[in-house]
Symmetry: C2
Subunit: 316 residues, 2 copies
């Protein structure tokens, strides 16, 4: 199979939900900007052996590539529009490619995201997706917008993916699905326009990711460990509270949103997210004192556990 | 050095020439669309061992990553605005990184292209750049717009990079620079708005790339081998005409533009490109008969040599 056959295969398998001005097959794609909106753009790579195992089901890899990128648009409150796929493949394995495209395309279509271009290369298995979306000026949820007095919220539950990673195939299917088939919180992000101040998606763990919000916003936060939302599956698989907190704070791959909002919008936030079928939990409060303080159920401070996932950290 | 130190290093080294609404450091970047323009977007990866040697000077790798992507915008007649960098690095080598960013940033700045976001991962050395630009509706140069009767043009000279690749360090510096520091034809692409019909950038060799234009446009072309523009350095290094033609037709990495334009615009095309300091040469003509026919100086047909570079081709 030639590179051009490969591109034709991708093109055939990926009909655009909303046709761009010019899609796959030219030097670049052309998109008409949405009037009255800013362009939001983000890129994320998934590498075999780092972000997934080379023998993971290809549909899971495709799904996750779309999910982690859509999650970035969700955290900006941007509506997905289009994506470009840079794919490095060790060989022209059409079965693998079809599975991958099914996973990527299935999630992309559900979010109205067209594949409009990309690049294919023979090399180590790696996927880089670039996503484009639209958000009205002033409505994007930025990391630097948390204000003292804001409450800290998270969507869904935390720590499921970390537990699945730790337990491996012994994890129950729901936990494994949380790791391999995360659902990006796009609807929640859009619902939070005009309600939330700051937001970030949880890719590297709450501790590190919320830390970025605090650093960018020049504030700190108190968090209640007892309030960290845990799924029944996580509680069953990891009955010991401190281990669970560690997964919830430091485990990556949750792809939930952490956001801040003023207390007077508490009801409005709950209602807006409930209307999208998304649970959200208040877990703490922003204040001016720098740093992140974790309170145990007995009121004592809990020393922050090991930091979040970092690609270039020296080995511990 | 942590991932965040790495990002801070990139950010510090890469001041934006034209500030986006929101740049590096959030979940995504925000850009204000240019009124009355379409968004042009393209992505291209460079992999160590495929597109460059791991021990190539990092500034050359950075330059080339920017050049091959800017070249795609040039071929769309789009004006560069911003880019996102997905970088996979085996380790946190700050000397390598600084050199790479200098090469990337130097060329990006010359073309008014801001780095607005990206992703860094530890993995095999690979660079994926996504570039964004603006072009007025109806003015993009598409692959499917060649018309019978159009003349086929190329900018600059062909085959220099292929000769440099074949000769290695024995090649003279100018030829090596053509391989390692290609200059994307952005000014030429913009100058061709309203003049050229179809265009493509020459990344995989004229034979293959012009073949895409012919396939997309549903036509064929006659080319005169004697008219393929050859640099003095190429003629000196490769005196034998047939070998030279092979480099010019099948060698990749030229990053010149091939385009078609109606004969009545011949003077206007020459003048518009000359005003940008870009030489351009007519090398043939589009007609309705499918395929690409190569004519020797004596008028005989020359059988097309081995096809252009293909990533997933079976070994010959």
């Amino acid at each position: 199979m030639s590179e051009f056959d490969l591109i034709a295969r991708i093109r055939a398998r990926f009909p655009s939900p909303a046709a761009p001005e010019l899609g796959i097959g030219d030097d670049g794609a052309l998109l008409a900007p949405r009037p009255g909106h800013l362009l939001a753009v983000s890129t994320d790579s998934l590498l075999a052996g780092v972000h997934f195992r080379p023998d993971d089901p290809p549909a899971d890899i495709g799904h996750k590539a779309a999910a982690v990128n859509l999650s970035d648009l969700a955290a900006m409150a941007a509506e997905p529009a289009a994506c470009l796929l840079a794919l490095s493949l060790p060989g022209a394995d059409t079965g693998w490619l079809d599975g991958f495209l099914d996973g990527l395309g299935g999630l992309a279509r559900r979010h109205g995201m067209a594949l409009v271009g990309g690049d294919t290369t023979r090399g180590p298995l790696a996927v880089t997706l670039t996503v484009l979306g639209w958000v009205p000026p002033g409505q994007a949820l930025r990391r630097d917008a948390a204000r003292p007095g804001d409450e800290v919220w998270v969507t869904g539950t935390l720590g499921d993916a970390a537990a699945a990673l730790a337990l491996g195939e012994a994890a129950e299917p729901w936990l494994l699905a949380r790791l391999r088939r995360p659902e990006p919180r796009c609807a929640a992000g859009l619902a939070l326009r005009g309600l939330a101040h700051a937001a970030i998606d949880l890719s590297d763990g709450l501790l590190g990711d919320l830390g970025h919000v605090l650093a960018a916003s020049g504030c700190g936060a108190d968090l209640e460990l007892a309030d960290l939302p845990a799924s029944p599956a996580l509680c069953a698989a990891v009955p010991e509270a401190e281990t669970r907190w560690r997964y919830q704070l430091c485990g990556g791959d949750d792809y939930e949103l952490a956001f801040t909002a003023p207390p007077e919008r508490r009801e409005a936030v709950s209602a807006a997210l409930a209307a999208q079928g998304v649970a959200a939990t208040r877990i703490g409060r922003i204040d001016l004192r720098p740093g992140l303080r974790l309170y145990r159920p007995d009121g004592r401070l809990w020393p922050p556990p090991a930091r979040a996932w970092q690609h270039f950290a020296d080995p511990p």
